[in-house]
Symmetry: C2
Subunit: 334 residues, 2 copies
Amino acid sequence: MEDKVLLAHGSGGKLSHELIENNFVPLFKNALLDRMDDSAVFDVNGRLAFTTDSYVVSPIFFPGGDIGKLAICGTVNDLSTSGATPLYLSLALVIEEGFPLADLRRVIASAAAAAEEAGVKIVTGDTKVVDRGSADRLFINTAGIGVIAPGLDISGSNATPGDVVILSGPIGQHGMAVLCQREGLRFSAPIESDCAPLNRLVADMLAASRAIHSLRDPTRGGLATTLNEMAKQSKVGIRIVEDKVPVLNPVRGACELLGFDPLYVANEGRMIAILPAAEAEAVLAGMRANRYGAEAAVIGEVVAEHPGKVVMTTRLGATRVVDMLVGELLPRIC
Amino acid sequence: MEDKVLLAHGSGGKLSHELIENNFVPLFKNALLDRMDDSAVFDVNGRLAFTTDSYVVSPIFFPGGDIGKLAICGTVNDLSTSGATPLYLSLALVIEEGFPLADLRRVIASAAAAAEEAGVKIVTGDTKVVDRGSADRLFINTAGIGVIAPGLDISGSNATPGDVVILSGPIGQHGMAVLCQREGLRFSAPIESDCAPLNRLVADMLAASRAIHSLRDPTRGGLATTLNEMAKQSKVGIRIVEDKVPVLNPVRGACELLGFDPLYVANEGRMIAILPAAEAEAVLAGMRANRYGAEAAVIGEVVAEHPGKVVMTTRLGATRVVDMLVGELLPRIC
């Protein structure tokens, strides 16, 4: 049983300390975490962003990522949507008794690598172990803090008629990658999750223009649900053009085969930006110079008509309403 | 199934929005949360404390509290141990499909009441639903941010020989309350959890003396484990006196019957303070004026001998080493 997580690893006693000191602290090495008090302490001045997400993805390893990378990128991206520079993250684990320690180390190493890439520090954490059968392998929660530069005002409620809608890259990869892995489906062209930290992409966008109105990453519920949220928050209409929304062929093929609409499939490395049309070229140029925005494109516009609703001009030239996701498409996708 | 949590409540789509807007937002009502962006945004200046904990207690309702109250108090108390004034909390739920909505509402109402008592705001959150059997009812994660007044330096590594060790009240109630509820044990004098937000108690202590060296709440692993952590962090010895450590009679009786040592049983509303002996009377007076510190007492001292170790003078006058918890006493106690 030495190579498995035991209930005692979550006791708060000796085994908890050993697990954390031997496996976690060395990978996340930073002075704030090393202090080992119940809270991390640091100086910050100005406007902060604060967010949290729990990650329950199944399976925990999938092409293009794993639950550790996802837990870092998801929270980094949520902070980025407020225009914040992500700085500090917490990491809390709920582990099922018997979970292989080797898998835990792999997840933690992946989280550490994603944090390194994003330039954020894991400064506080928690480890709980539940009895076998009381959780499915591993759940992770991260919360994060970022700092917003003075003068920035980015919110889902700032979209204005006349704005354009920019999408940073093709949709549907994360959801289909996880689904194919879960169901053991293999296609000739394998689908990889787009899971990535987008804070540097957002920094490049803000360097190009500080007039960005709204940012949002289209995760659960996909592009369709996120655009609906933004339309409702801003009390505007959004019109997108089907032909302009990029979908990779393997994703399109898998979606057609399995009966999914890519508009509703989760992404973990894509950003939607809404901004004045006059800023679009500069922002697109900034995005395309970043590896995570190479395929950025204008996919639509904000209109005064049909406030709170999203419509799409289809390939056939028709217009249809694109509603928020109803029901559940793919449970445990993130 | 209308009265149960469905997978679709975690989809990020329509049902997620309805669940959150109808059940959570009204109870946590505050302008930061109402913004409904992916991050909460607020201004803070100075030294911050940041912490996280996941809560997996079983059963989720127990005498003296529930998982909602616990999730707020635990994080408020962790922030308080750095001398911070807790301000903002996140709240993230992992819910098992089929969990009764009435129970969820009860937990959320309890969390809201605890936040209200502590004077903290829930400003951001997340809701995930996993398929039946993939989690045991409900897990909660909270993270929190607090502000530390200039000049305060409180850390588990600041204990100094000559300091006294103060405990805010009797030990072992939370662990035994949860255990008795879990196992259906009934004693003539029922045991209630001590679960409570201690930030105002800590404020009263700091009003009495800003020279407090270390604060720590003895949760998982109990008083014994927490004192060991402090002794190791500060590289000092700690000596406590068994007779001075308060244990309520019902807790002592239940522990004796069931073979537990109250020193290792979890608390959720107790604070350990280590401070110069000259400050003890003032701090004790400040504590005793607070409902959560009415029974505060000096239970021991910090010594230069046996650094990293805790010893106890027993009722019989002998001295024994009090080690950190080894193994797991009571899984899922918090």
